[in-house]
Amino acid sequence: MTASPLLSVRHLTTEFRLDDGQVARALEDVSFDVLPSQTVGLVGESGCGKTTTVLSVMRLLPGNAQITGGTVLFRDTDLLTLGEPEMRRHRWKDIAIVFQGAMNALNPVMKIADQVREPILQHDLMDRFAADRRVDELLELVGIPRARRNQYPHQFSGGMRQRAMIAMALACSPDLLFADEPTTALDVMIQAQVFELFKRIQAELGLAIVLVTHDLGIVAEMCDVVVVMYGGMVAEVGPVDAVYNEPQHPYTQRLLAAFPDPSLAADLPAGGQDLATIPGTPPRLNALPPGCRFEPRCDRRMDRCREASPALVDVAVTGSGSTHRAACHLLGGRETGGPEAGGA
């Protein structure tokens, strides 16, 4: 290991109590690391647990959800052992979040500058005058003209609101930023502007970013490491280059094949070409298959896959120090127990 992780998630398990009394296991045994200044992509289809992972780490889960196991080490603190007041000291100051849908995440009756200033005052980091200067700096950093600081969210376009959200997330200089589908509902050009902004703030401020997305193209362009999730578990994790070029898990392989590659589009036959699909649907979290969660949809399943859930095993250790791992019986390895990256 070259650097010790900023965030180290180990065996995280989160359950939801449903209205009918059933329990849905939304996350099971989720483990991954985020190194300082790294960009990690959490990718997968709807319901795979991406957002639940983020909300679990931030301890922002809804009332019917409970973290039932695992540890979330931020530097040397296990966030899961903290009480709400201590957790609040970390939130926004050390770990911030840009929520999905900037339309609904801002307070409609509060001026943009006041909203950006709020976390600074909440954390008592500086007095009002200094905070005002800080707000000006932040707005400049994200490209919101000074003249618009006293406007309300409805006067902002979608892209500008997302910039305001980012300014707010950066207000207390966090070391780790979660961005949950930050560009869904934005146009491609605005999306490109937002990601350009993410790259710039990362270069200037050196913070680590965890980017939640379903867009494999965005991960390829933005991230160092990718965590592929399926049915609440990590299917494959590793450096983006390794995972994209040598995907090990059949789900990752099928997912990549189903994603159109625009760089090849000009060479397709006239009239287009069908895309590869993944037959079936993702499992319901209250009726998970007993073995590997991808088994019912997998075209390479074996008897073993129906019986036991595969553990994440090392595929290779690459030069960057990040390990490429996948959870599939085809790779051999143990059937139970979990990944232990050299002790937590």
Binding site: D187, E196, E221, D241, P260, A266, G271, G272
Partner: protein
């Protein structure tokens, strides 16, 4: 089999009046209009897929709505199978709205909001038949609904008839939307961002389904999208729109291979590519698409264009031929022969 186009749009313009304030009335200012679609012409052949691509506000959805009679054309004409849509009936053979809406179906973006949550799938898919007074008997209706559901990939259809939308996944809902469009056996499908709400694997399934329908039924599709990443897999031709105008149009492969308009180039350059070894330099246009109320003079793209010259501020370019069926509305391309102009456009222009 004729080769007459199923749809012809000629010089279509759609304007929306802006609400006047009290000051406008006091000062007797003329009412202002938003020009959502300006001078758009294209045609669609039987069995062809034309992609209409562009960002929010470029007018692509307005075109679809106008085509199906949900909006009125301010100027220009729309011919569906040679008969006019809307406009003055004295000017020639027109098609009634009812017939139009039987032969041309529109499919909206959000499969969660476009289905009645209280109705069964049977009711939803049968509704167009009821509205159009088709399939009089119960059996005929059931028969057509089952056929439409199976064509949309919901097999066996019996499993779905009595279910309600909330019992279905997003992909299945989008299939129900497609089935209720197919039940009238349309010749034209207007698909307004049918894939944008769907997950990767479901998106691939729905795209393949639409592709199959085009092949098996010869259905023509106007595919409205903001995602240039997907058009290569589907569309025969591609039209790129900016602020109400088509700025580039041609066979999909030609446009993707050799985009001419600086806007098309920029749009293509920002489509994320799922290949980490191919990180390119995107051309990121700054700012946002301007307000269509105060359109800039000259080329409407010039304020954001990385290669604009003085003439672009004055002269509005027409869609001119580059080669074959590939057309571009750019002074810098149309002024010279295609090859020279292409050489002058910087390929990897990076905005600071």
């Amino acid at each position: 089999m004729t080769t007459d186009p199923i749809l012809e749009v000629r010089d279509l313009a759609v304007e929306f009046p802006l609400r006047q304030g009290i000051g406008d009335l006091v000062h007797r200012r003329p009412p202002r209009v938003v020009t959502a679609v300006d001078d758009v012409s294209f045609s669609l052949d039987p069995g062809e897929v034309l992609a209409l691509a562009g960002e929010s506000g470029c007018g692509k959805t307005t075109i679809a709505r106008t085509l199906i009679g949900l909006g009125t054309a301010t100027r220009g004409e729309i011919l569906f199978k040679g008969r006019r849509v809307g406009g003055d009936p004295a000017e020639g053979p027109a098609i009634s709205l009812k017939e139009l809406r039987q032969k041309a179906q529109i499919m909206f973006q959000d499969p969660y909001e476009s289905l009645d949550p209280r109705a069964t799938i049977m009711d939803i898919v049968a509704e167009p038949l009821v509205v159009h007074g088709l399939a009089a008997s119960e059996e005929q209706r059931l028969d057509r609904v089952v056929r439409a559901l199976e064509e949309a990939g919901l097999r066996p259809a019996d499993d779905y008839l009595r279910r309600r939308p909330h019992e279905l996944s997003g992909g299945q809902r989008q299939r129900v939307v497609i089935a209720s469009a197919l039940v009238l056996e349309p010749d034209l499908l207007l698909a307004d961002e049918p894939l944008s709400m769907l997950d990767v694997s479901i998106r691939a399934e729905i795209l393949n389904l639409l592709n199959g329908l085009r092949r098996s039924r010869g259905i023509s599709i106007l595919f409205i999208t903001h995602d240039l990443g997907i058009v290569g897999h589907f569309a025969d031709r591609l039209a790129v729109m900016y602020l109400g105008r088509i700025v580039e149009m041609g066979p999909t492969r030609a446009v993707l291979h050799d985009p001419q308009h600086p806007y098309t180039r920029a749009l293509l350059s920002v489509v994320p590519v799922p290949n980490p070894r191919l990180r390119r330099t995107p051309v990121i246009l700054q700012g946002e698409t301007p307000n269509p109320v105060d359109l800039p003079a000259g080329c409407r793209f010039h304020p954001r264009c990385p290669i604009a010259v003085e003439a672009c501020r004055v002269t509005e370019p027409d869609l001119a031929w580059v080669r074959d069926a590939h057309r571009v509305a750019c002074l810098l391309v149309a002024g010279a022969s295609g090859d020279d102009a292409a050489a002058r456009l910087p390929v990897d222009h990076a905005e600071g």
